[in-house]
């Protein structure tokens, strides 16, 4: 499995991103690399621009300035729906599942980009469409096993509890078989046990599937535990980048988090302003 070595060329390069909403600057000259095989954490106080950065990476927002290079492609003008084909998948901070479908179908829907059956083949079903459905069902069942969601396979996801919906969403992103997985606060709003499950899944995805992961997360203890590197945003500006240890002792980061209720290590930092 690939490890986080700095000798590889970056999988993704965000270069000088600027994003404005009217007068509000969500991102100001933000640049960072994601190296193949690493878990990169993107942290920062509320409203720092983390979700906006993710939205730029998968073409949901278009930065007014700057460039995004991914695996040999320039994403700056790539249509949103093409970006997952190149290998970027994500989950959303406010779960965005297909609520009327079963968990199984949510995952199958993500296989869309890997399937080729035409409208007419779909309507006919027998033959190519049938074979293709079965082949992809196998892939999905592996993910279902892996995420331990056999029991909710045929449940309508709109009716599932929050923690399970988060898990289905992770499964849906995995079903795309991306090279880069963007996770926007996958553990927000979960209880301790659910958080531990989710952390285990993320580590497993990284280790067993060799996926590169960009993780946005508020739980500092967790970030420090599982991330290889950390990028810190504050008011749309990148204020720090480094290993978890470097970040923990970075004065700018400590200052940015002052006044916030910060978990674990960070909470020991004295407050002075």
């Amino acid at each position: 499995m690939p490890s986080s070595t700095s000798t590889h060329a970056p999988l993704l390069q965000a270069i000088d991103l600027h994003l404005f909403f009217g007068g509000l600057s969500a991102l100001v000259s933000v640049s960072f690399d994601i190296r193949p095989g690493e878990i990169l954490a993107l942290i920062g106080p509320n409203g720092a621009g983390k979700t906006s950065a993710l939205n730029c990476l998968n073409g949901f927002y278009r930065p007014q300035r700057g460039k995004i290079l991914f695996d040999g492609h320039d994403l700056t003008h790539t249509p949103t729906h093409v970006i997952p084909r190149l290998g970027i998948a994500r989950t959303f901070q406010n779960i965005a599942l297909y609520t009327g479908m079963t968990a199984l179908d949510n995952l199958m829907a993500a296989r869309h980009i890997h399937m080729r059956q035409s409208m007419w083949a779909s309507a006919l079903y027998f033959g190519p469409a049938h074979r293709e459905e079965i082949a992809h069902r196998r892939v999905i069942e592996e993910i279902i096993d892996f995420l331990e969601m056999e029991h909710i396979r045929k449940a309508i996801v709109g009716a599932l509890p929050y923690g399970l919906r988060k898990r289905v969403e992770l499964g849906r992103a995995l079903a795309l078989e991306p090279k880069l997985l963007l996770l926007d606060e996958p553990m927000a709003g979960m209880n301790v046990e659910e958080k531990e499950d989710m952390a285990r899944f993320i580590l497993d995805i990284h280790e067993r599937r060799g996926m590169t992961i960009l993780l946005v997360e508020h739980d500092m203890g967790l970030v420090m535990d599982i991330a290889h590197r950390v990028v810190v945003l504050d008011f749309g500006v990148k204020i720090a980048e480094g290993t978890p240890d470097e970040i923990k002792s970075n004065p700018a980061v400590i200052k940015a988090y002052l006044g916030e209720t910060v978990n674990s290590e960070q909470s020991t930092v004295n407050s002075q302003q």
Binding site: N58, G59, F60, P79, T80, H81, V82, I83, P84, R85, A89, R90, F92, A96, L97, Y98, T99, G100, M101, D105, M108, A109, A110, R111, H112, I113, M115, Q117, M119, S122, A123, L124, Y125, A129, H130, E132, E133, I134, R137, R138, E141, K154, A155, R172, A173, L176
Partner: protein, 351 residues
Amino acid sequence: MALRLAGDFDTSYAHDMAIIRNRGQWGMTIAFLIGLFALPFFADGHVIGTLNLIGISIIAVIGLNILLGYTGQISLGQAAFMAVGAYSAAVLVKAGVSFWLALPISGLVAGLVGLLFGLPSLRIKGFYLAMATLSAQMIIPWFFRNVRTDIFGGMPGLTMQPPRLGEIVFNSQATMYFPIMLTVVVCVIAAKNIARTRLGRALIAIRDNDLAAEVLGIAQFSHKLRAFFLSALYAGLAGALWAMYARTINPDQFSLLNSVWYLGMVIVGGMGSALGPILGAAFVRVLEEVTVQLAPVLSKLFPQLEAGLLAALGPITFGIALMLFLVFEPRGLAHRWELIKAAWRLRPFAH
């Protein structure tokens, strides 16, 4: 989770994905199909005529359900797309093309026109899209009424020669029943297949969360256009069959009111369900038939009732039924049917 009969285990993914799962269900399906196609040999012409009308409505409503129920895009133009199918068939048959060839061509022509009127879905949604599709409903009947009256026959419309197959002339309710029901069966199966495969999931994904769908690789616009195309294709097939059924077609048969009735059938039947269009179309058409039969009886019993009121009995009943469904069973008859089935499977341990 869907409840199944005991002993019905999934032995493979193919089996899990199959619609018909065991011998009993195969038996029932075959018996149903035999019954369906044997009906004209027993039932009287009037019943068959009603069934023909139900069949044509089912096809149009399945199409609308693909657009409205699965893709979440509203259309107020289903009757107009039927007009395109009906006129295509009539014009082609007049030009010497066999009806059996004209039928699929009419579907395709209507599909392409539907695709054209689906283009605004690139930019607009919901109420505004409904207004845009309303333009199809305004323009198309106007077109057939006023443009090239030498081809389309203007106000009085066109008369189509009944289709033939060797010696058989399809000019009675009993003979027309076969091509209509055959098309219904094909249309129902095709729609079910679409719903359970790649295209159907993409459409439902767009309905449920269009932005997430786009981010996860499903191109919104091209799939919305596919839905408009399919929806109008179904309408076109229904329209061509209608031309056979009615013999004479004219622009007034494809009014906004008809489009609204189809919308009503989708709602009464249950949006986004495979069974919904069948139940919805049958329910509304039977209701209509009952009110037609009831009107003379009522006028005898209550001579003081106004004739105008009796004539409006159909629309009034439809309106009330629609309202009751929206309030008490917005998921339609199909959902009710699922509940009944589930209760039956759990017998005798109800509740």
